[in-house]
């Protein structure tokens, strides 16, 4: 979804190509009714949980982390405004699953476990998601100049899985936030010139969008 979708043909004309697949497309029949304006919100507990998961993906280091960048509230807003009911449900189910996994392994809710235990749980979720997507024959396809989509077998996978959504929205939310774009990346609002070929300086960060 990031700029890849934003730019598509425009990116092509302008020489901007991006690599990773960032969108999921589902076969016919799996389309959920759009939920424009539908009520969707997190409970305070879910809000804290989402912020925590995002911080695990992009933690505060020498630069700000996901919490500093307000990624939690951003994820909630995006799910509410830009996603379909299936994805919203997948996300809520994913959060519940984190608590279920934590309870099973440690007898407490996710938020009450240690940071190391949380990482283990998330690793497990990532592994399961990879399996899930493999089984659904996820294939990266081009649907336009520079728009990639992942096509999946919709009978085997209902909507984008939780972990994938969490990761995509965290990266997107973080690197396009003021904190992420200006502190973790090289943000140049008005470059003023174009140099096509320059040596990559040591420690040079990627440009923000």
């Amino acid at each position: 979804m990031n700029r890849r979708e934003a730019l598509s043909r425009v990116a092509l004309l302008m020489g901007g190509t991006l690599s990773a697949p960032t969108l999921m497309a589902f076969g016919e029949g799996a389309a959920m009714p759009p939920t424009a304006g539908a009520a969707f919100s997190f409970t305070p507990a879910q809000q804290a949980l989402v912020a925590e998961v995002a911080e695990h993906i992009i933690p505060r280091t020498s630069t700000p982390g996901a919490k500093d960048a307000g990624v939690g509230p951003f994820i909630e807003l995006m799910l509410k405004d830009c996603y379909k009911a299936q994805e919203q449900q997948n996300f809520l189910d994913g959060l519940a699953d984190l608590d279920a996994k934590a309870t099973k392994a440690h007898g407490k809710k996710f938020m009450e476990t240690t940071s190391a235990e949380q990482v283990e749980i998330l690793k497990q979720v990532e592994k399961e998601t990879t399996e899930l997507m493999k089984n659904a024959n996820v294939q990266q396809v081009k649907v336009g100049d520079n728009v990639d989509k992942e096509v999946v077998d919709s009978k085997k996978l209902k909507g984008t899985p939780f972990w994938r959504l969490a990761k995509e929205l965290t990266l997107f939310g973080y690197f396009t936030s003021e904190q992420g774009a200006t502190k973790a990346l090289d943000y140049v609002p008005i470059p003023g010139r174009y140099d096509g070929c320059i040596p990559l300086k040591k420690g040079q960060k990627a440009y923000a969008l």
Binding site: V10, G37, I58, T61, G144, P191, Y194, L200
Partner: protein, 571 residues
């Protein structure tokens, strides 16, 4: 009928220009500069240069959804969403809401519109190429459709003229297939693009060049006099350019026309029909509907330039019925609304490249590379006619790559802030053949909220386009392979519809014979010489290069002719 003579006088101009987009802006500039009092009627709101560019200076985090379309917009902009980018938050305000401006599809057509001052001149990709000599002769040589009434040499001086004023940057490549023009200094290729350029030339004899774009790289006094400055390489052009660095109506033609003090721009005026005087045998003016108040008002002029873009311009003539023209003004050939063409795209390849790890670039170049047509050119012969060119570019990946990767945490974050590997994509832009059965009509009963009949599209790709796509896909992969790319992903998105190229044209084609065409060699309606059409409607065939530069040249040429004819009292 009661006629208020004074009021009518007030509504009378030397010329009326319908639409203020790329072609309308040129018509307004040329006609006013040649001394005419011109009324430009624009159906949409006024978007003022700089102050009207609502999102131009916004940082990514200042947009609620960081640019992404929300569900509600995706529903309202039901045609726009098909492009995958025009409904995004940063520039959606300059595109048309399809629910408020519906159209019908017998066969699906992606109709991407922008109704406001400047039209799509604020939104276009600015790729600007001349047609070549063959483009004007292909129809006649191959016996397809009808012959153009003009040749390259008729347009060449006008290309020179519009290129200088618009400011087209590019490199002179000395190719017959892509004639050189009056260029501003070219933008630079990056190091991977330079590598690909030399490899595809060495191994395949094909040219790769920097895109020729309507961006000022070294403004001249004709540009700075209008307040235009050099490109700042922000690549946020679709939001409107506060520097006036790319060619748009707002930055270039409108200020030039305004300088003459002979231009009146009237916004929110939807032109519904051209008024035809049967006794005089000529058009006398146009009827308008105010888009907000629905007030109907007529305006009068000696000549009328229709520049509402291909579909609306033809619609206006179709809707102009009289006993002389029961099927629409100038439609005796029954060609009005037919031969819709576009450029087909959504087919090409991308890949990754190992190497040049220590090379980067600075600035966001609002331009890519161009690989001119080589198929069915010279000795090359295929099982289809015409050809295609590629547009694309190379860059290093960024955090976007992380979505599909495994891992999270501090090390993962660190990696995402670093510069990723190189990749490149090239996508074909293919020529679509004219076909009488690709057309639109006006619905007999269904109307929009202004009482205008709805446009019904019935057009699609043909066999020639389908055959061409095989080469478009394979050749792209081959070239990347030849240049040493890995993980090559060739694609052909067959789900896109005609229209997706946003280069619609051909609905009132030019030709020598009034029996088979709507316009003559000077873009006059054959049967009503004081109406000129110089937007995409006029095109007799489509070439494979982006069309708007040709609309500019046709417009400037027709305007000069019109003023001459007026002086000679021929109109």
């Amino acid at each position: 009928m009661y006629l208020n003579i004074d009021a009518q006088k007030e509504m009378t101009y030397d010329a009326i220009v319908v639409g203020s987009g790329i072609s309308g802006g040129w018509a307004a500039k040329e006609l006013t500069e040649k001394g005419l009092r011109v009324l430009c009627l624009e159906r949409g709101r006024d978007v003022k240069h700089v102050e009207g560019y609502e999102t131009a200076m916004k940082a990514p985090w200042e947009l609620a959804h960081r640019g992404r379309p929300d569900n509600q917009s995706a529903e309202e902009y039901w045609a726009g969403i098909r492009t995958g980018y025009t409904v995004n938050e940063e520039h959606r305000y300059l595109f048309e809401n399809d629910s408020k401006n519906p159209y019908l599809e017998t066969r699906p057509f992606d109709w991407i519109r922008a109704y406001h001052t400047g039209g799509r001149s604020l939104l276009w990709g600015r790729q600007s190429y001349r047609w070549n000599e063959e483009d004007f002769m292909a129809n006649a040589k191959e016996g397809i459709s009808i012959d153009w009434p003009i040749r390259y040499k008729d347009l060449a001086p006008w290309y020179d003229y519009v290129e200088r004023f618009a400011g087209i940057s590019g490199s002179k490549d000395g190719l017959d297939v892509l004639p050189d023009g009056q260029f501003q200094p070219a933008m630079e290729l990056n190091c991977l693009e330079k590598h690909v350029k030399s490899e595809v030339m060495r191994k395949m004899g094909r040219t790769l060049t920097i895109g020729r774009v309507a961006h000022l790289t070294k403004p001249q006094s004709i540009h700075t006099a209008l307040g235009r400055a050099a490109c700042q390489y922000r690549n946020m052009c679709m939001r409107g350019c506060p520097f006036g660095a790319y060619f748009s109506t707002q930055a270039a033609t409108l200020p030039a026309a305004m300088k003459t003090k002979r231009l009146t721009l009237a916004n929110n005026k939807i032109v519904s029909e051209v008024l035809y005087d049967e006794k005089k045998g000529r058009a006398t003016g146009v009827r308008t509907i105010d888009q907000n108040t629905l007030e109907v008002k007529d305006y009068y002029a000696k000549i009328i330039f229709l520049n509402a873009s291909a579909i609306p311009s033809a619609s206006i003539l179709m809707n102009s019925k009289s006993s002389r023209f029961p099927n629409g003004l100038g439609n005796e050939s029954d060609q009005l609304g037919r031969n819709i063409m576009d450029h087909h795209l959504g087919v090409g390849a991308s890949g990754t490249y190992d190497g040049f790890e220590d090379q980067y670039y600075f600035g966001r170049r609002a331009n890519g590379v161009y690989i001119p047509r080589y198929r069915n050119w010279g000795k090359d012969k295929r099982d289809y006619v015409r050809g295609f060119g590629y547009q694309g570019g190379a860059s290093r990946s960024s955090w976007g790559r992380g979505v599909g990767m495994e891992g999270f945490g501090a090390a993962f974050k660190e990696e995402m802030t670093e510069v990723g590997g190189w990749n490149m994509g090239i996508g074909g832009f293919g020529e679509v053949l004219p076909n009488e059965n690709n057309r639109f009509t006006l619905h007999p009963t269904k109307k929009d909220k202004w009482g205008m009949p709805l446009v019904v599209f019935d057009a699609g790709y043909g066999e020639n386009e389908r055959k061409m796509r095989i080469d478009m896909k394979n050749d792209a992969a081959e070239m990347l392979e030849a240049a040493g790319f890995k993980n090559i992903n060739a694609y052909d998105n067959t789900k896109s519809n005609l229209g997706i190229g946003i280069h619609e044209m051909g609905t009132a084609r030019m030709g020598k014979d009034p029996k088979t065409s709507v316009l003559n060699a000077h873009n006059q309606v054959h049967a009503c010489k004081n109406i000129f059409m110089t937007d995409g409607a006029a095109m007799t065939s489509a070439s494979c290069v982006n069309p708007s530069l040709t609309y500019m040249a046709l417009t400037a040429r027709a305007a000069a002719f019109a003023v001459d004819e007026l002086k000679k009292k021929n109109l």
